[in-house]
């Protein structure tokens, strides 16, 4: 029996994960060779290129949203994991405390400082700065800091009474000088060639100058210096270039039978605003036999306007009147990413870097495998 190639509808149906009121269906993908007799699903880069597309929804410095359409979850997940754990950033790693008479303990203060995200010139951060490795020999520690692997910062704050404060003032920030220590009080101390890469707008500085580090009272002092190094998120979350990097699958809402009138309004309220819109049934639709619109010309009907905004809450499936009129699902190969940058990288550059990183990893391992055979 000759095999018939799958119809367009069939291919579309295979991509949908079914979502019912209490259960889900068709979770795993089936596009592997040998799964469907007579069909070829072997890896073909040209077929992948034809089927794959990227769509941008938002592209700001701190937030980018885009869709990868036509790739497998294992690939999409690899990019997500790499963005979180394998893209290097610069963060405070060592804190040298000379004096800290504030109420915040040394180790807590050091931890807080480590979590502050910093920005700086991209060329310097990504090309000039290299990894710092802790020397195995403790005595070699002081010879391991170079201008290309260490950035030096300092924080010197003393709290004093403000003589000019109005009588009866109760606000500590007005009553005292430096009652609050903010991230903007951290000072960058360029060394060697760092001047070339990190000057002016490219200077190493906290992304958000208003991060509160500690609160002081008159007589208290914080005096410390810090070393920043490059690191990756798998070592410590402070090195992660993203606040979140996540994806979700594109929701699918399929209205199989018309939902009209008051029901349509109720149906729209089952979804977040903008997902379902109401349209008037046209005379032409009402004239079509078997369409379900007969005799309803001019009434409102529910139409799917923007399924991407849906949260797939399944609220509509709780109402008996909609149960047989709607099918919910998610598109298995449509990933809507949301990448929030902490500010050291541009949010879209993080993804590009993640793709490059995966390629590099595969290339390195290919060499390793060849070396293993040799």
């Amino acid at each position: 029996m000759p095999h018939k190639p799958p119809t367009k509808e069939e291919l579309e149906r295979r991509k949908i994960v079914g979502i019912r009121d209490e259960t889900i269906t068709d979770v795993s993908c089936s596009d592997f060779p040998g799964h469907y007799p007579g069909e070829d699903h072997s890896w073909d880069i040209d077929a992948f290129r034809r089927g794959f597309s990227v769509e941008f929804h938002q592209n700001d410095r701190f937030e980018a949203s885009f869709s990868l359409i036509g790739c497998d979850a294992s690939i999409a997940n690899a990019f997500r994991r790499i963005m979180i754990a394998d893209i290097p950033t610069l963060a405070i790693e060592n804190v040298f405390i000379n004096n800290n008479t504030s109420v915040i303990q040394d180790e807590v203060l050091a931890h807080r400082l480590g979590l502050i995200p910093f920005q700086g010139g991209h060329e310097g951060l990504h090309k000039f700065l290299k990894w710092w490795r802790k020397p195995t020999d403790e005595a070699q520690m002081n010879n391991s800091y170079y201008d290309f692997n260490t950035v030096s910062l300092k924080l010197e704050v003393q709290c004093e009474h403000n003589d000019k404060a109005a009588a009866g003032e109760t606000d500590p920030t007005k009553l005292y000088h430096h009652a609050h220590v903010y991230a903007r009080d951290i000072e960058f101390c360029p060394v060697g060639r760092q001047d070339r890469y990190f000057s002016g707008a490219d200077a190493i500085a906290p992304v958000n100058p208003d991060i509160l580090i500690a609160k002081l009272r008159p007589g208290q002092e914080i005096s410390l210096s810090m070393h920043m190094h490059k690191g990756v998120g798998s070592d410590h979350a402070k090195f992660s270039p993203v606040a979140t990097a996540s994806y979700r699958l594109m929701p699918v809402i399929d209205i199989t039978r018309p939902i009209l009138g008051d029901d349509a309004e109720k149906f729209a309220r089952c979804f977040p605003r903008g997902v379902i819109e109401l349209e008037k049934v046209t005379k032409k639709e009402a004239g079509q036999k078997g369409s379900g619109y007969e005799g309803h010309a001019g009434e409102l009907k529910a139409v799917v306007a923007d399924p991407m905004r849906d949260t797939v809450s399944r609220e509509c499936l709780r109402h008996d009147e909609f149960k047989d009129k709607v099918k919910l699902g998610r598109r298995r190969d449509h990933f809507i990413y949301l990448v929030e940058s902490t500010g050291q990288w541009e949010s879209d550059a993080i993804f590009i870097e993640a793709v490059a990183h995966l390629k590099k990893r595969a290339l390195d391992l290919e060499k390793q495998v060849k070396n293993m055979v040799r």
Binding site: A91, I92, E93, N94, V95, F96, I97, N98, N99, N100, T101, D106, E107, A110, H111, L113, G114, L115, E138, M226, H236, K238
Partner: protein, 81 residues
Amino acid sequence: MSREQYQVPTGSGSPTIGTGSFSAPTARDYTGDVGGVMYYMCGDCAVRVPLEKGAPIRCQKCGARVLYKERTKRMVQFEAR
């Protein structure tokens, strides 16, 4: 987080003098000619209280008996983790 490379403060000389015995490391000589005065912080009035060896543990100003040790003058290194 640890106070890396912490060493017990010792007054003079190295603590490894007199190897072989379990004698305590040469402790700081509090009665030495440096004056033997240690400063503490009064728990009540926060004044700096100088205390000599054997002196009653008491704030000379307010009489409070709770005294705190002063912070080390040394640099302390922490990992920001």
